[in-house]
Structure formats: structure tokens, C-alpha cells
Symmetry: C2
Subunit: 343 residues, 2 copies
């Protein structure tokens, strides 16, 4: 089959690889219907040392079950399934607590499972990992359903961990796909004031359609000051940090109200957070982390299926599998926000 393999920074190739096969009784093989390129795929795209073996890419996908092991009850060939961006057994204590990203028998796509940016994937722990969609899904819904793999659940995780409710004001930092999904999630949870911080007008315009009530283009101290100005000097009850840089975290601490919560889902590219004596006196909470997408898919699915939310609008480009290297380039050059792949 054809699949995307990264061999080093800037070196993404689509090439022939062996078809995935079942190895464990709990495996399934899934033929990919839709996948996409993630902002986090750009990190190795910018920095990966050259590798002879290469790394299969892609951790967001939905597809059709092609084959199942002996111990995969409830799934059979032909089922349409969504895969969250890590796999998990669904039975360990962490999974039962809804923290599937810490599953005791889980792991990440790539390596010997293959990745979503290919024609098919071997899915370990298929009963715990995959979520079956109802039959006869409208093809037009596939982009929105695909966001259940990662970005919608990640934005939702930020909002849930922050405790967003109709009583909380919200700042969302970042107008990337996760930030926009965080706006959607905050609105869905009832937030009435949602301040979106971002400086790409086409994206912040979509953010307004998703529920943002205010947009702030300024960054750093100036950006935080603008949030405080909008909130009588206080800052917002919650800040959903969807970027992951040290600057974004510092700005979050400046934009949050005393007693408030900074919830981070932008993958931390910093090693320290300035949770200093000032934040101590203000009782600021820092929470969040990598999203256990699997915990949220069933909750969010009805709103997606019934069209009440349309997170698939974060995709602003769609390509075939052979064009994936161009898709990486477009995202790296910020010519595209998030690129959908139809293998």
C-alpha cells in the first residue's frame, strides 16, 4: 500500500510499504477514509534528524474496518470507525478514569502500527481504541467526524479541565485548529464571553462564527492587557492555552482572573512555567495536558452527527495521498491551517 513516511526535517515521502496485518487477537486493520496533517506533525517536519528507516506519519484518521482479531467483539469488517490519536485498552484504571492517554497498555501511532497518513493502519487494542459510527454516514460529515480524532476533543479537553460553564468567561489563546475547536467547545458548554487571541483574520473570522465574542490580535503583555481591559481589569475566569509556547503560557497567566484556571492543550514547548509568588497570591490553577480524546468521542458525536457543531470547517485544504508532501509544505508555510487527506 501507499503511506507517508518522514525521513528527516522537510523530507516527507509517500511510498510503497507492506500492507498492515493482524498481529494480536485485539488488533484490527482499518482502511483509511479520511486523515489529516496535525500542527504537531510540523515539529518533526522542522527538526527531525535524518533517519534511514523513516517514521510512518499520521495520528488522526477514520476509516472502514477491514479485518479484526479473534478478541475484537463488537466490530466487524465494513464498520466505519474513528480512531483517537493514541490507542488504549479501555479497561485499565486510567482508561476507566477517562485518562486514556496514560493507558497502561496504550501507545502512539507510527512505528509498527503504521500511521493515518496511509491507506491502512493496524490498530492495537481495537476494542478500547475505536469508536464505531452509525451506518450510512453522510460523506459531507466526514471532515467534522475526523476532528473527533484529535482537534475537537483537544479543544474540548481544554474547556472541560478549565471548568467552562455558562458562568465563566473564557479566553482562547491561538487561532489554529485546536484554538478554533476550543472556541466551539467553550460555546457548546455555555460560555457567553469568549475572547479569541489570534492574528490571522480568516481564522479569527471562523472563530467568531464558532462563538468568539471578541478577538484580540495583540500578543504578549499587550495581549493580556487587552483581555483585562475587556473584563473590567480582572481577566477571564478561564484561559484555554492552545499554542504551547512559553510566550503563550505567560500571556495566559496575565489574562486570567484571580482564582481562575489556565488550561493548556498546546503541547508544551517550554520546560518551566512562571507560576511565581504573584500567581500564588492570586490562586491561579494550571491544568490540562494531552487530551484523552477517547474519553470524549461518544459525548461529542451526537452534536457532530446532527450538525449542531461543524468543527470540520477548520480544514481549509483537501488533498490526495500522493500530495501529502505538498500539504506539509503548505502548513509549514502557513498557507493552510489544516489539511485534510483523502487517501
Amino acid at each position: 500500500m501507499r503511506a507517508t513516511v518522514m525521513y528527516g526535517a522537510g523530507d516527507v515521502r509517500v511510498e510503497d510499504v507492506p500492507d498492515p496485518v493482524l498481529r494480536e487477537p485485539t488488533d484490527a486493520v482499518v482502511r483509511v477514509l479520511r486523515s489529516c496533517i496535525c500542527g504537531s506533525d510540523l515539529w518533526p517536519y522542522w527538526s527531525m534528524p535524518p533517519s534511514e528507516r523513516g517514521r510512518p506519519m499520521g495520528h488522526e484518521f477514520l476509516g472502514v474496518v477491514e479485518d479484526t482479531g479473534a478478541d475484537v467483539p463488537g466490530l466487524r469488517a465494513g464498520d466505519v470507525v474513528v480512531a483517537p490519536f493514541v490507542w488504549s485498552d479501555g479497561t485499565c484504571d486510567f482508561c476507566r478514569e477517562g485518562l486514556q492517554t496514560s493507558c497502561r497498555h496504550g501507545g502512539q501511532w507510527g512505528g509498527d502500527t503504521g500511521g493515518g497518513q496511509g491507506e491502512a493502519v493496524r490498530v492495537p487494542q481495537a476494542p478500547g481504541t475505536l469508536v464505531k459510527l452509525p451506518g450510512g454516514v453522510d460523506e459531507a460529515l466526514l471532515p467534522s467526524l475526523l476532528t473527533l480524532s484529535d482537534v475537537l476533543c483537544t479543544g474540548h479537553h481544554a474547556a472541560v479541565k478549565a471548568g467552562v460553564s455558562p458562568r465563566t468567561s473564557v479566553t482562547v489563546i491561538g487561532d489554529g485548529a485546536v484554538g478554533l475547536c476550543a472556541v466551539l467547545a467553550a460555546r457548546r458548554l455555555g460560555a457567553e464571553q469568549i475572547v479569541l487571541m489570534g492574528h490571522h483574520k480568516d481564522r479569527t473570522d471562523l472563530g467568531r462564527e464558532f462563538g468568539a465574542t471578541d478577538v484580540i490580535a495583540e500578543r504578549g503583555d499587550e495581549g493580556a492587557e487587552k483581555v483585562r481591559e475587556l473584563t473590567g481589569g480582572d481577566g477571564t475566569h478561564t484561559v484555554l492555552e492552545c499554542v504551547g509556547t512559553g510566550e503563550a503560557i505567560a500571556m495566559s497567566l496575565g489574562a486570567v482572573r484571580d482564582g481562575g484556571v489556565v488550561s493548556r492543550v498546546g503541547a508544551a514547548q517550554y520546560t518551566e512555567v512562571p507560576m511565581d509568588f504573584g500567581t500564588f497570591l492570586r490562586n491561579i490553577t494550571l491544568t490540562g495536558g494531552v487530551a484523552p480524546a477517547r474519553a470524549y468521542i461518544e459525548d461529542l458525536l451526537p452534536d457532530v452527527l446532527e450538525g449542531r457543531i461543524q468543527p470540520g470547517r477548520v480544514f481549509d485544504d483537501a488533498i490526495g495521498l500522493e500530495d501529502v508532501p505538498d500539504g506539509y509544505r503548505a502548513m509549514a508555510e502557513r498557507a493552510a491551517l489544516k489539511v485534510l487527506i483523502r487517501p
Copy 2:
């Protein structure tokens, strides 16, 4: 009257100062029955630059109302009251939310209110600040009631913000008065496994009486490793950080289970917390801060009055007002854990 004034590092004097008088209609004057020296009083004791004017000391006290302004309904001369370690109006949005430490019209003892380590104090915002005790309180209860000013409420704040419950394992970092009160608070909230980290045997022995099930004397990485050993490699669901050093915070992050909460009430003497990519992948929450003691006093009061908890046992020395300089010395030299003052 006589009162304690600090003039610089190591320079604590008890001297004659003017008697406090009402200034605002919401003021009360309270004659101090019991006060104490706080671990945080040692910071200026170690580092305060010389000052000609000096700083009135003491932020924990209980006493008898001597005089009230025109706008202090519900309190009158003779009432016995507890004062939390900051004053607050009780009516602003932060106070109504239970975050009296961020009160819009609040402040700290010292300066022109005077401090608890004196014969009397002017209490601003008396209706919001003071909590009236039932008449005829047994004198033997006064030390435990005094801990409602600060250390018991601070330990309780750590436990509450961490979400301690019968379902959570707990690590308490620090065997000072706050750490011991955190053990008491965690036990009171139903925690069954409470690991106390401290290396002063007399204090950890009291910690065991307060509810600690395990004691770990090791510190740093070794200490965190011991906590993980006690918990099947995982760490505890919650860590109550009652020290405030960078080392203690780092150890907290090493001792907490994936998805868990580090709740800090040790006043932050660091400027950065290593909430890095590893803690992001583990979904660790950092919460806590300076305790809004006022929010908790009514909740905790019945258990103290009825003797179900005896937080006053953290006092291991009691002195008169004239001996306060010796009390500071004893605490600074760690000859005493926490010194009670009877003016």
C-alpha cells in the same frame, strides 16, 4: 499598649505603641487573647532590610471585641472572635466566591491596623472579616481555635483544591504546622492513604496521630521515588505542597500520579515551576495558593469546638508578649515548630 515591631532581619522588639482606635464605621478594635508566630514571619526575620519605622507583626489572632464602629452589625463589645490572616469586606464578588484573599477592599495586617502580636488590633471591614465564636469557650480550646486564623485553613485549602476525598491517595510535603494541618484536613475529608514527607521525628509522629499512614524522610528525587514505591509505581492522586521551595514543588511533580493534582500552599519562594512536556503528557494539575481562610472558618469550627480535631497540638511552645523575640529565635533555630503567644 505593648506590641511586636520588626525593625529588620533578626531585630524584633516589643515596645509601647499607641492604642488602636476606630477610624472607619466598619472597624472594630479587638483585644488579643491568643496569637502566634507564623513560619512566614521568619522570612522578614531572615531578610528584612533595616527600617526606622518598623513593621507591626502578627497576622493570626483571636480576641475579644472591645469597640465597634457604627456599621458593624452583629458584633459588640465582649464577643470572642477569630480573625483570618487577611481582612476582607465579605460582600464583593471575590468574597462571595470564597476567595477573600482577592477581596476588592481587603488587605493585610500590619501597618496602620497593628498586628496580632500585640495587645490589640484595629480590624478593618470587621463585619466581613471576623467570625464570632459561641460564648463561654473553654480556654483549653483557644490554641485549636487560633489555627482557624491560618494554618488549619491553609492545610484545608490545600486539600480542598486538590479534591481530596475517600477515593484519593494523598502525599503531604512538609512537617511544619501547615503540613501537619494538611494531614488533619486530608484525613477529615476521608483520605485513607496519607503519606507525610518530613524528617523531624517529633513532628512526623504528630503527623501519624493526625492521620498520616506513611512517613518518608527522604527528599528530592529519592523522596518522590519512595512515594511511587508506596503506590505501585504510580504516585498519589494528590500532593499537598506545604513548604514553598523549588525543591518541594519539583518533588511534588515527581510524587503525583498521572492525571493528579499538586496543590500548593507553601508560599512560593520560586519563580518558575517545571511544568514541562512530561507533566503535560501526564495531565498534571497545579493548583492552590494563599488560603482564603475566611471561606473555611465556619465549616471547620464545629469540628474544633467539639474536639473532633485538635490542630492546636501544632503549637509546641507558649510564651508571653514580652518573650516574643525569644519565640522568633526559637522558631528560626527550629527549636520550636510554632509558638503560641498569650499577650
